[in-house]
């Protein structure tokens, strides 16, 4: 799987993502600076976590209009898979590749801890190595992870199977107290309609090695590597 990791000023998970892709998928990703207008053809584009452009105006708002994003939006339109992790999810929403928006955490506190998420579907390139209903444990690290969309949009997402992950208790029960940020309907990850774009608040790249406290994120990269080989 050929992959690219986009690096914005203020990205801070780009190297973690690079290492995870190298170790789990077995190929060195291209690291693409935000000012690049183009980059090599790849099978997967990853927008990593961090605080691009210092979260000025709104988290992800500036990055969504950076030169490299014009290319990312064009390629996503052609069906090239895109994974946005944390700040990457915020950028995908601001760029209009995913519906909704990530608002300030309801608690107003930064959430930095492990959470549990329930895999809502295994029918995607991102989740095919998980069983539907499986529970994965991964860290979150964000201040703006409170997913919001209006009821009509949320209903449409549910009908079309675009909800990828929900925050849950360790036993898989979706409960408000399991959410670190107050996201509507406990949403932790959403797909675009074609399920070629995933935005996800937790950090699978930080859960790929037992030394880091967990390996539940590996299945996402393994699934992508298998599907996009």
């Amino acid at each position: 799987m050929r992959s690219a990791v986009v690096v914005f000023p203020g990205s801070n998970c780009d190297r973690d993502t690079q290492v995870a892709l190298r170790d789990v998928a077995g190929a060195e990703p291209h690291m693409v600076w935000h000012a690049e207008g183009t980059f090599p053809e790849v099978d997967l584009i990853v927008l990593p976590g961090g605080f691009s452009y210092g979260d000025y105006l709104r988290a992800g708002a500036m990055a969504a209009h950076s030169p490299v994003m014009r290319e990312v939006v064009a390629r996503a339109g052609r069906g090239v898979p895109v994974l946005g992790i944390c700040n990457g999810f915020q950028i995908l929403c601001e760029a209009g590749l995913l519906p909704g928006v990530l608002m300030r955490n309801a608690s107003l506190r930064f959430a930095g801890k492990d959470v549990h998420v329930r895999v809502e579907t295994s029918q995607s390139i991102f989740t095919n190595r998980y069983a539907a209903g499986a529970v994965a444990r991964m860290p979150v690290a964000h201040g703006d992870g409170n997913y919001y969309a209006d009821d009509a949009t949320l209903d449409r997402l549910e009908e079309r199977g675009q909800i990828a992950f929900r925050y849950c208790l360790p036993d898989g029960t979706v409960a408000a107290e399991a959410s670190p940020n107050g996201a509507r309907r406990n949403i932790a990850g959403v797909f675009n309609e074609a399920k070629t774009v995933l935005g996800f608040m937790p950090h699978p790249e930080r859960a790929c090695d037992p030394l880091l406290g967990g390996t539940d994120g590996r299945a996402m990269i393994e699934g992508l590597a298998g599907a996009l080989a």
Binding site: L57, C93, V101, G182
Partner: protein, 80 residues
Amino acid sequence: MKARVQVTLKPGVLDPQGTAIQGALAHLGFAGVRDVRQGKLIELELAETDPAVGRASVEEMCRRLLANTVIESYAIEVLP
């Protein structure tokens, strides 16, 4: 000319920062504050001299960057 853009959360969108401010005001003894909504004020200095053209251009800026219309609404004021 100058333009001033007010960006506010749409009614019904939860505003945890507004709620926190309301709580702090209550702690300071300001009774009777029923609701607080926090927004942004953006001031622009434009080379354009035609107010109608200027307003249309700021409108486009709001739609594309200054506001996220999923959760925010905006009001534009064009100043001479």
